[in-house]
């Protein structure tokens, strides 16, 4: 079983490859990269004009299954991932029941295996029931396939628990992912605290609520030697803390979202209080946004992740203050980041692939993130010139909650390969 991808622009930051090259796949793995490869009996696919990269992985999404299948399922979420150019997703543990034990992990993976539209990497809970009290059975979950632990939207509040999980998770060499939010400082808050919350009279959510938790956790990571990862980092100061931690050689990493890179809190006013610009953490100030942009350019940021958070239209179509937090992202990530980060000259295409493929694969310790010979042939193909207009009605996701509706962007996913097999989407 051989497949030759011919004439594409192969971009693989793991090998510092960026050029018009052929790529030969054999038995599900990369067999050769080079100019004018003789494929022999290989099936040949002309991919000229397309970009060929190691498969993109969105390391922070919500699949909502089990428990909230009216918002999303493993099937629709992985379909949305494949349609958006992703070969892998890491799904958060805040399902109902919580993914805090191996039977839930196994259920998610079984559902994912029924279609095989994208690889699913479950993230287990830090604590039983995400209640922040006792450690969940992490070894059991790791045995079942969990690649990281996080209590995500129920941030680990007690420093003692954070210390213990940073210690314990080292047995499995997995990162502890923290949604950094001091719940008391943000009590009642619905948007970033600043000029716009003042103008709109909406209860504010200060940046310091994130920074305090990041600062504390970095100290605990230093003492424990554990791997600490900041989810959807959104403030300039938190980014500075991560930068310092890295300079000191700590095992501290972070991800940012496309919406925090591209949008600011002013949008709450501009959209007339649209619930589709309400997310957690909230859209921040322009100076925060600029700091995150600098962070993806200078290497401080390790990954971009969407925090794909589907919600049913009935839940979102309410007063801003009452709407749930979150937006979908799997089907807009690629076009948004390609158009607004690469085409606008902020980062190179290679750096974008690092942020969406090589970085997440390394962080989660999963296959992929590289096209090195012998590695799994999980591949993303996209057309960098094709123009698309964001149209939520056409999403494969069950949900439509996006603030990017109507944006016209260049960069369109064309297909994904999982271990050399072209993923076919149902009509």
């Amino acid at each position: 079983m051989k497949l030759l991808l011919q004439g594409g622009r192969v971009v693989d930051p793991s090998q510092e490859v960026d050029g018009n090259l052929d790529l030969l796949i054999e038995d599900g793995a990369v067999a050769e990269i080079g100019e004018a490869i003789e494929g022999g009996d290989a099936e040949v696919r002309d991919v000229s004009g397309l970009v060929v990269t190691p498969g993109w992985i969105d390391m922070h999404i919500h699949l909502r299954e089990p428990g909230q299948e009216y918002k999303e399922t493993v099937a629709t979420g992985t379909l949305a991932a494949a349609a958006g150019g992703f070969t892998g997703v890491a799904c958060m543990a805040n399902t109902e029941p919580v993914n805090d034990n191996r039977s839930v992990t196994e259920h998610i993976l079984k559902e994912a295996g029924r279609h095989d539209w994208a690889r699913v990497y479950p993230i287990g809970a830090v604590s039983k029931g995400q209640r922040g009290e006792e450690l969940a059975e992490i070894a059991e979950m790791v045995a079942a396939g969990v690649v990281a632990v996080s209590d995500d939207g129920h941030p680990v509040r007690h420093p003692a628990l954070m210390r213990r999980v940073l210690e314990y998770a080292q047995h499995f060499d997995i990162p502890v992912i923290q949604h950094a939010q001091d719940m008391e400082l943000t009590a009642g808050g619905v948007m970033h605290e600043g000029e716009w919350s003042t103008r709109l009279g909406l209860p504010g959510w200060p940046g310091s609520a994130e920074d305090i938790v990041v600062a504390r956790d970095i100290l605990l990571a230093e003492d424990s030697g554990g791997r600490y990862h900041v989810a959807h980092l959104s403030t300039a100061r938190s980014l500075g803390l991560v930068r310092q931690a890295k300079e000191r050689g700590l095992r501290v990493t972070c991800e940012v979202t496309p919406h925090h890179l591209l949008l600011t809190d002013a949008l709450v006013a501009e959209t007339g209080f649209s619930p589709d610009v309400k997310m957690n953490p909230p859209l921040r100030s322009e100076s925060d946004r600029e700091a995150l942009i600098a962070g993806i350019a200078d290497g401080t940021v390790d990954a971009i992740a969407s925090d794909h958070a589907p919600h049913h239209p009935d839940e979102k179509d309410v007063e801003f203050s009452l709407a749930p937090f979150g937006i979908v992202g799997l089907e807009t990530n690629l076009a948004l980041c390609h158009d607004r980060l690469v085409r606008s000259g902020i980062i190179s295409l290679s750096r974008l692939v690092e942020l969406f493929s090589t970085g997440p694969a390394r962080l989660l310790g999963v296959p992929g993130g590289t096209l090195a010979v012998g590695s799994v042939a999980d591949i993303t193909l996209f057309d960098p010139e094709a123009e698309t207009t964001v149209n939520a009605a056409g999403f494969r996701s069950k949900s439509r909650n996006t603030p990017f509706e109507g944006w016209t962007l260049r960069g369109k996913p064309v297909g994904t390969l999982l271990a050399g097999r072209a993923v076919e989407l149902p009509a």
Partner: protein
């Protein structure tokens, strides 16, 4: 009524989006309605056949009564919807409530809601004009308009005046609408209150900030005291009403720092002895009850302009 030409808005959602010219149109129109309330028969047929729904999701005595009286004096048919007597407590969404009302073809909807942006949400969906009667801590446009009307009546102008607003700035919709309105009309606004109740970047709205009562009222023409919501005490925003009164309560003695002809305003309801001493509230400089009277005229003007009656008359 030629001064009303140029009013084209369907809704009155806030002061932030209004042009000074539009503010003047409302104030001038209110001027012409003021005498209706002084007649023995306090009723004109101006809005006969128009239906106005008063949709109150928060308890309100003053604003709601004011709107209701304004409707009656204009001969509009008013209908009251309140949280306790409607489907709102049955878990119906705001959008569904609004669409149901829409199906009854009202001309105007007056909405009071605990959450900012609720009037915007209605206005986007409904053909009826929407009047914001207070949305959370966001805006309370008719209050700012009646305040401006009262100031103009007493001082003859707005431009060039100095206005101090004192109290819980962070949680006040009255402050936001007043800052927008007064600065658009050329007045200078200083806000003051405990630092725990001062929102970030309030100076970006165009107001100066002071942290003592004396600094705020020195040399001002207008002093506006805000109601302190006593439940804020449990949220660590101030230790006790006694301590609040010590720092920011307005007494005759402290009023000596202000200009002799400074007027005292309060949007109500007052907490006597907390933000304002009775000697001040009931004193000669107080225009607090005039504000209430003027509220009716201003709301008549807003109802009239938004109903489109001025266009039909032209």
């Amino acid at each position: 009524m030629t001064e009303q030409e140029g009013w084209s808005r369907k809704d009155l959602l806030g002061i932030a989006e209004l042009e000074p010219r539009e503010i003047e149109i409302i104030l001038d129109t209110a001027e012409s309605f003021r005498e209706v309330s002084a007649r023995p028969i306090k009723k004109v047929p101006t809005l006969r056949g128009k239906t106005v729904v008063n949709l109150f999701f928060e308890p309100s005595t003053r604003t709601r009564s004011s709107f209701e009286i304004a409707q009656k004096r204009l001969s509009a048919d008013g209908l009251n919807f309140s949280a306790s007597s409607s489907a709102l407590t049955k878990g119906e969404s705001l959008v569904d409530t609004a669409l149901n009302l829409q199906a009854m073809q009202p001309d105007l909807i007056v909405i009071r809601h605990a959450y900012p942006g609720a009037p915007q949400m209605l206005a986007r969906r409904l053909e009826a004009g929407v009047i914001n009667a207070g949305d959370g801590a966001h805006e309370h446009p008719t209050q700012a308009l009646l305040d401006a009307f009262t100031i103009r009546q007493r001082k003859g102008k707005l431009a060039g005046l100095k206005v101090a607003i004192i109290g819980d700035i962070e949680h006040s919709r009255v402050v936001r609408s007043n800052i927008h309105l007064l600065t658009k009309m050329g007045a200078e606004v200083t806000v003051a209150g405990p630092r725990t109740m001062m929102p970030l970047a309030v100076e970006k709205l165009g107001a100066k900030v002071a942290y003592t009562l004396e600094d705020a009222i020195a040399d001002t023409d207008v002093i506006m005291m805000l109601r302190i919501q006593l439940e804020r005490q449990s949220k660590l925003l101030f230790p006790s009403t006694r301590e609040y009164f010590r720092l920011f309560g307005l007494t005759n003695a402290r009023l000596a720092a202000a200009k002799e002809d400074a007027i005292i305003m309060h949007p109500g309801p007052m907490n006597r002895g907390v933000e304002i001493a009775s000697e001040v509230a009931d004193g000669e400089r107080s225009v607090i009850l005039e504000q209430v009277s003027n509220g009716v005229a201003v709301r008549m003007a807003v109802l009239y302009l938004l109903s489109g009656a001025h266009r039909e008359a032209a």
